[in-house]
């Protein structure tokens, strides 16, 4: 299992590096831009906080983008939230199905290793790369704060990064389950899932009737503006996340073990 895990990490390392550096550097660039925009921000902040549904959707009604904390939550929060979710989806959606899609399954599964061990190795690979992705991005963001000599709101920042990690794991688990069923690449579907969750959360914060059902989507507990403004998160959102992760992962193990593998 260790050999398969290490090979999977190696095979996915390039994609991991591209996504971590891209999202991390974009976040860092956003933070560094704050300094040059700081003067204008004060005027913009009032305008952005009074734009009704738009301000609610992007959290600008609760946080001022004139402060680095508010700016980070609204701008970098969006970049990291979307980038991380897309990376998690892309990574997990093909990790099992690619063996059949690229016809390498006959080689891998003729080796003395059970399907469960293969699923476990690939699942651990996804989790490890998502943790590393979060750490690398966090280092970029911290570097931005240090460079601007601004105080990092450590508690909120740590909470944001951990919840984003949980969100990425939830999206990855869903995609992992789909990958166990499919023998073909579903990259488009993976990206679609990440974007649908994002849009669902955006709409849910604007449409009053949907607010009670926000907990279904993973962005409910990982919303940067809520975390940085100290809004309490619905516990059901976390319960749903844990349930989704467990069910999707167990489903992947059971289904992959029972089905025929295509040549």
């Amino acid at each position: 299992m260790r050999t398969i895990l290490l090979r999977e990490i190696k095979l996915n390392f390039k994609s991991f590096l591209i996504w971590s550096l891209s999202v991390g550097l974009m976040g860092l660039a956003c933070i560094l831009l704050y300094q040059s925009m700081e003067g204008d921000m004060k005027d913009m902040a009032d305008m952005f906080s009074n734009m009704g549904a738009f301000s609610d959707a992007f959290g600008m009604s609760t946080l001022s983008i004139a402060t680095l904390k508010g700016y980070f939550a609204t701008e970098v929060g969006t970049v990291h939230g979307l980038g991380g979710a897309m990376f998690a989806a892309i990574l997990a959606i093909d990790i099992l199905s690619k063996e059949e899609d690229k016809h390498t399954g006959e080689f891998l599964f003729s080796l003395p290793v059970s399907r469960s061990k293969v699923v476990a190795a690939k699942g651990i690979c996804v989790a490890v790369l998502l943790v590393l992705f979060t750490i690398i991005c966090a280092l970029f963001y911290v570097a931005g704060f240090v460079y601007l000599k601004e105080e990092l709101p450590l508690k909120e920042f740590t909470s944001f990064m951990l919840r984003q990690l949980l969100m990425n794991i939830e999206i990855a688990a869903l995609c992992f389950g789909i990958s166990a069923v499919s023998g073909k690449s579903k990259m488009g579907m993976g990206l679609g899932i990440a974007l649908v969750f994002y849009v669902y959360d955006l709409i849910g914060r604007v449409v009053p009737d949907l607010k009670d059902y926000l907990f279904i989507g993973p962005y409910a507990y990982a919303n940067a503006s809520e975390i940085f403004s100290g809004v309490e998160t619905d516990a059901m959102a976390f319960v749903t996340a844990v349930m989704v992760i467990l069910c999707a992962t167990i489903f992947a193990f059971i289904f992959y073990d029972k089905r025929d593998l295509a040549s």
């Binding site: 050999t3 390498t104 080689f107 080796l111 003395p112 290793v113 059970s114 029972k258």
Partner: protein
């Protein structure tokens, strides 16, 4: 002689589509067993069921006196399989693929792999994506043989190999079989059955019949495909 393969009343279907029906087959230790039949007759389904790629509907498969479902991993430790299409991870180098297969088996097969690569003229420093079909087949042979398994399963192994490599391949099989291994060879090539196999069976429309003799002439061989 011990039975290395014992299949009893194997039935496998793909939904409403036929796979194999009530197949029973026994292969003794030290045999080179020819497995012939038209495309879609069920040869690959039988082989893929033996290796656990497919979940069988009914019947039982025993390999090396072990149950193919319960002892799946243990069986694969002693089996060398070469699929008809030899696909590997394209970005990997040949030497890494060969070592990867050995590492998953938790074995040091470097000496045997080196010998095989030398005899089959495998360039281990090339990447898989740079290899022709025939050269990918040779990598597949090395991966199937380097751990010196007790049972070889080859699914149309010589497609893409030049005549010299075909001869080297069969020489290798002979050597391993003389040392106690057993070989199941699925093929469409009559000369391979005549020359190398000791027993054989034909599959037609999902059903298996044993051949009385592997010494069959071309007309009879073609009839297997026509009927």
């Amino acid at each position: 002689m011990k039975n290395v393969v014992e299949i009893q009343n194997l039935t496998k279907s793909y939904g409403k589509n036929r796979g194999v029906i009530d197949v029973s087959l026994t292969i003794e230790e030290g045999d080179i067993f020819g497995f012939i039949g038209p495309n879609g007759a069920g040869k690959s389904t039988t082989i893929r069921s033996m290796l656990g790629f497919l979940k069988i509907n009914s019947g039982s498969i025993k390999i090396l006196e072990m149950d193919s479902v319960k002892d799946h991993e243990k069986i694969l430790e002693n089996v060398g399989y070469m699929p008809s299409e030899s696909w590997f991870y394209t970005s990997m180098k040949v030497k890494d693929v060969i070592k990867y297969a050995a590492d998953v088996r938790k074995m040091d097969c470097s000496a045997e792999a080196e010998k095989l690569c030398e005899r089959l003229k495998v360039d281990v420093n090339k990447r898989i994506k740079e290899l022709s079909y025939g050269n990918r087949k040779k990598v597949s042979i090395v991966c199937a043989m380097q751990h010196r398994p007790r049972l070889f399963i080859f699914d149309e192994p010589t497609g893409g190999l030049d005549p010299l490599m075909q001869r080297t391949f069969f020489n290798l099989i002979d050597e391993y079989v003389n040392e106690g291994a057993t070989c199941l060879l699925s093929t469409h090539v009559l000369s391979e059955v005549n020359k190398y196999c000791r027993h054989g069976a034909i599959m037609r429309e999902g059903r298996l019949s044993m051949l009385d003799s592997v010494l069959i002439d071309e007309d009879e061989f073609i009839r297997f495909y026509e009927e």
